[in-house]
Every structure is written in structure tokens, then in C-alpha cells.
Amino acid sequence: MAGNDAVVKKDKRITWKEIKRQKTLLIITFFVTIYGIIFYYLPLSGWIMAFQNYKPKNGLLHSTFVGFDKFKFLFEDATFLGVIRNTFCMGLLNLVTTTIMAVLFAILLNEVRHTLLKKTIQTISYLPHFLSWIVVTGILHDSLSSTGIINDVLLNLGIVDQAVNFFAYPKYFWPIVAFANCWKETGWNAIIYLAAITSIDPCLYEAASIDGASRIQKIKYITLPGIKPTFMILLLMNIGNVLNAGFEVQYLLGNGLVQSVSQTIDIYVLKWGISQNDYSLGTAAGIFKSAVSILLIVIANQVAKKAGEERLF
């Protein structure tokens, strides 16, 4: 984020003349900052609820404080421990599979020499990104249903004897979620990698050709190292989001039969906080998620720093 600021001359002294000159900028800043405080910073005061037995009629000021009781309840609740595992494992699985798919797609698409064909494939690849999760999960339900295409193919190939109800078995749930994420975002995530490939100096490829390098060698020694910085930055940014990657799909695809593996922290918060009206417990679970996310970002950033790689801050 910094870097640009360093270039600016350090002659910025707050004088009346300067304030008057920047009146418009300051007025805009004033109103937008108030907006930001209300919508982004004020909710943080709600974190107090996690340490209270919050009752809406008493409000934040008059609810009884219970210390870390809510957190204790959370960590003694076997369901919540399962929820943490689900959130983390699905987040990680999604991150790994979507990253591999995006990099693979970008590299292979770059090998397609026919320009029009390449453009067409790329346009098609963006399509799922623009569909809502509602639409995507609906389509997925149809494809995986007993009369859907997947069961048709499996039956015709003789892999299964009768149609499989994929949504009834916990063992299929995580792979389905990972697949759904790959289906929706591969083309979109590949945009950045394709841009990174485009920015590699063409001279490198030409020189390699003259030296007699094969296409596979060029991918290995030029393309892959060329996209490594982008890969590292995106990895860093996404590691902090690992716990955030678990709401819409799981909520829309989950059902009673697979609840033990489908519930994530966000769904747990929604269930306890909104449906059961236990605001305190929901908030405590939310705080836990935020704290772990920030911790993950900091750790990832430190690791990157140690390894001498690109970093966020």
C-alpha cells in the first residue's frame, strides 16, 4: 500500500491556507469518514456482546458481563470444534484446488496459438463467475441428481449399478464444494495469471527458442518463474480469507444428512445468532473467526518475509 507515499515531498504542513485550499477535499473526507465509522467501525463495539449475556432489551450498557463464558461454551461444544475443522479444511481445499486450476488453465491457454480460439475459450471461462451461487448450486443439484448427467455417465460406463445420491453422503460434500468453486472461478482467477504471463519479456522466449528449448522447458524455466511473484501475492491475500470462504455454497448445498461436514463458522453464527437469538454466542464465534484470519495473514506475511518473497505489508 505504501511506496507511493514515499515519493511525495514531505512539505505537507497543516496551515490555515492549505486547509482553506483543500476545503472541498476535507468536506468530502468528513462525510465519508462518518459513514465509515458508522458502517465499519461502530459494529466493532458490538464485540462487547461476546463477553456479556446480551439481552436486546437491556442493550450493550446494561447486560450482565460473563467474561469468557461464551468462548468457554464454544470450545467445549463438540459441534463447534467440528465447525472449525469444516471451515478450515474446506477453505484450504478450495484455495489449493482453485489455485492449481487457475494456474494450469492460464498456462495451457497460453499454449493455444490460435488467437480467436483462445479468445473464445477465455470468454466462455468467465461465464460461471457471473452467475450467482443460487444459480450455480441449482445447476449443480440438477447435474448430480439421480436423473442428472453425472449419474447418466456413471451408469452408462458401468461404474455404478444404480444412481448415487451425492448429497446424502458426507464423504462427497467437501469435493463437491471444491468442484463448485473451481467450476465458478477458474477462468476468473486465471485472468491475473494470464496478465502476468503476458508481461513476461518475449525476448526470453525467443532466446530460449534459439537455444533449442522445447515448449515444456520454456514453461518450466520461463513461464512458471515469471508468474511466481503473482502467485505468492495472491496466496498471501487468500490465506487470510481461508476462513471467509465458507458460507454461501455450504449454506445452499448443505442438508440434514451432511450437516456434520457442511456447517461452517458463518453458518454456525447465523444459526445461533439470528435463528436462536443468542447474539452473544454468535458474536463470540465471529470474533474467533476474525482473530484467526488476522493471525493467518500476519503469519503468512512473516513467512514470506523470511523466505525473501513478495509480501503484503
Partner: protein, 298 residues
């Protein structure tokens, strides 16, 4: 271009070519088939569709699904609200984000780094679902249309994308305008904004797609208000109410009408995704530039 390479077209490279072709064919089929299948189902007779075996083309053509879906009162209200929130949400968000980005990209701005930090923090720390829910309730945003556009109006990611683009514009334009006595608002409206058209399009696209596709806010804050329902939320209700029955032939046999949950769902899905599918190919260059600015530079 292959002539130079003839002596190097080794086994490995040939295998690579085969792999690329197979991968791309499978990829395109996987991406397109489910969408085309949904379209085929939406034009098929309902009872016939439950038998299965419909792939890329309808077997027994019917438009009954569409007449039924387009006659659903809730879906029409949802469509109206969705169009409204997309327009209002996108315009307001673009204007305010652009103003903030304009302010913090002015080199002489007094609180440049402070304001930037203020917004960057919001990307990593937020109150979470419950405190936000209570806040919206207290502000009277629940059970109202305003919850669709006011809370999400300003966002740090879009500010950063816009700021990065604005910082890349030459300073000399601003300086010469100031010499001519132009104020900041004039510079914003007459100089910066026209130059920022591509990045404005990018941000508008991001916001508009988000608005069009969102359903959670409708479910959480306006569940009781059918007059503020949205297209996606109505689709979700339609999908979940019939999810359990998907593919059960008995259910279809009892009905005398030629519509079934399966085909109704398909046509509602097509109605919901049609506008976006028609529009996005033409906006490609905008989101490609936008993502590259936002991702590679930050």
C-alpha cells in the same frame, strides 16, 4: 512460426499439444454443458423432463414453463427490486468511491495516509454478522429498500482500484487546471472522471454484478417484506422448496399440468442469468484491466 522449430518438435511437445487440446475441450464442455442443459430443460415439457435423458436440446418443446414463471407475482416484484437496486446501488457506489479515491490520490491532500489507512483497515477487520445485524436494526435499515444500497456503498477494494488508476494519471493536467482557477470539484468532474472511464466501467461492473446476484441481504433483513424481495432470493425459495422432490417421478404423474418443479426451476434460472450472460462478453476488456490493476499492483 513452426518452421523454425521443426527439429525440436519432440515427443514431449507433441504430448503437450495433445494435453492442451484435451484439457480445453473438457474444460469448455464442463463449463457450458450445465448451462445449456438448463436452457434445454426450461423449454421442455415438465412431465416429460422428469423421465431424464434431456441433454442439449428439449425433447418435447414447450413454453409453458416461461409463461408460468413470468406469471409469478413474487418473481416479478423481485425482478423490479433487483433492477432498481442494481441501478441505484451501482451509481451511488461508483460516485462515492470515486470521490474518496480522488481525494486520497491528490498528492497535496493533508490526511492522505490517514484516510487510506482508515479504509485499508476495514478490509481486514469488521464487526461480523451479529453486530452488523443489530446496527442495521437500530438504524432502521431492516425491512427497507435502503439496506440494499447504503451499507455497501463505500468499499475499500474499489477505492484502492480507483486510486491506483488515478495515481497513474499525469499531474500536469491538474496543475494547469488549478492555474486556470479550477476548484477540486471541477477537476474531478471535467478532468479526472473522463480519463477514468475504463476504471469506472470496471468498478461499476463489479458492483452491478454483486447487486444483481446478492440474495443474503434480502433473506436476512427483508424476509418479512415481500415488496422488497429480490430475484435471486425468489429463485432460492423456488429451488429450496422443490429441492427434496427433484427427480421424483410420482410427483409429476399426479399433476395434470405440464409443468414440474424441475422445469420451472430451469426456466426461472434462465430468466435470472440471462441479462448477465448477454452483457458480460462485451464488458470483458473492462474487468480484465480492473483485475489487473487491483491484483497485480497492490
Amino acid at each position: 512460426m513452426n518452421t523454425k522449430r521443426h527439429k525440436h518438435s519432440s515427443l514431449g511437445d507433441n504430448l503437450l499439444t495433445v494435453f492442451v487440446v484435451v484439457f480445453m475441450v473438457v474444460f469448455v464442455i464442463f463449463t457450458l454443458y450445465p448451462v445449456l442443459n438448463t436452457v434445454a430443460l426450461s423449454f421442455n415439457d415438465g412431465i416429460d423432463a422428469v423421465r431424464g435423458g434431456i441433454y442439449l436440446l428439449p425433447r418435447k418443446f414447450a413454453t409453458k414453463n416461461y409463461t408460468t414463471v413470468l406469471g409469478m407475482q413474487n418473481l416479478l416484484i423481485g425482478a423490479k427490486i433487483t433492477v432498481l437496486r442494481t441501478i441505484i446501488g451501482t451509481l451511488s457506489s461508483l460516485l462515492v468511491n470515486a470521490l474518496v479515491a480522488f481525494v486520497i490520490s491528490r498528492k497535496r491532500f493533508l490526511f492522505k495516509s490517514g484516510v487510506s489507512l482508515f479504509w485499508v483497515i476495514t478490509m481486514y477487520v469488521n464487526g461480523g454478522l451479529i453486530p452488523t445485524f443489530i446496527l442495521f436494526k437500530n438504524l432502521g435499515l431492516t425491512n427497507s429498500f435502503n439496506v440494499y444500497w447504503i451499507p455497501g456503498m463505500v468499499g475499500a477494494f474499489n477505492i484502492l482500484v480507483l486510486r491506483t488508476y488515478m495515481q497513474g494519471l499525469p499531474d500536469s493536467l491538474e496543475e494547469s487546471a488549478q492555474l486556470d482557477g479550477a476548484g477540486y470539484m471541477t477537476i474531478f468532474a471535467k478532468i479526472t472522471s473522463p480519463l477514468c472511464k475504463p476504471v469506472y466501467a470496471t468498478v461499476a461492473l463489479f458492483v452491478a454484478v454483486g447487486q444483481w446476484n446478492s440474495w443474503f441481504d434480502a433473506m436476512l433483513y427483508n424476509r418479512m417484506k415481500t415488496e422488497f424481495t429480490t430475484l435471486q432470493y425468489e429463485l432460492m425459495k423456488l429451488l429450496s422448496s422443490v429441492m427434496q422432490q427433484s427427480g421424483s417421478a410420482e410427483n409429476a404423474k399426479n399433476g395434470t399440468d405440464a409443468i414440474t418443479p424441475l422445469t420451472i426451476r430451469a426456466s426461472a434460472t434462465v430468466v435470472t442469468m440471462l441479462p448477465i450472460i448477454c452483457l458480460y462478453p462485451f464488458l470483458q476488456r473492462y474487468f480484465v484491466t480492473g483485475l489487473t490493476i487491483g491484483g497485480v499492483k497492490e
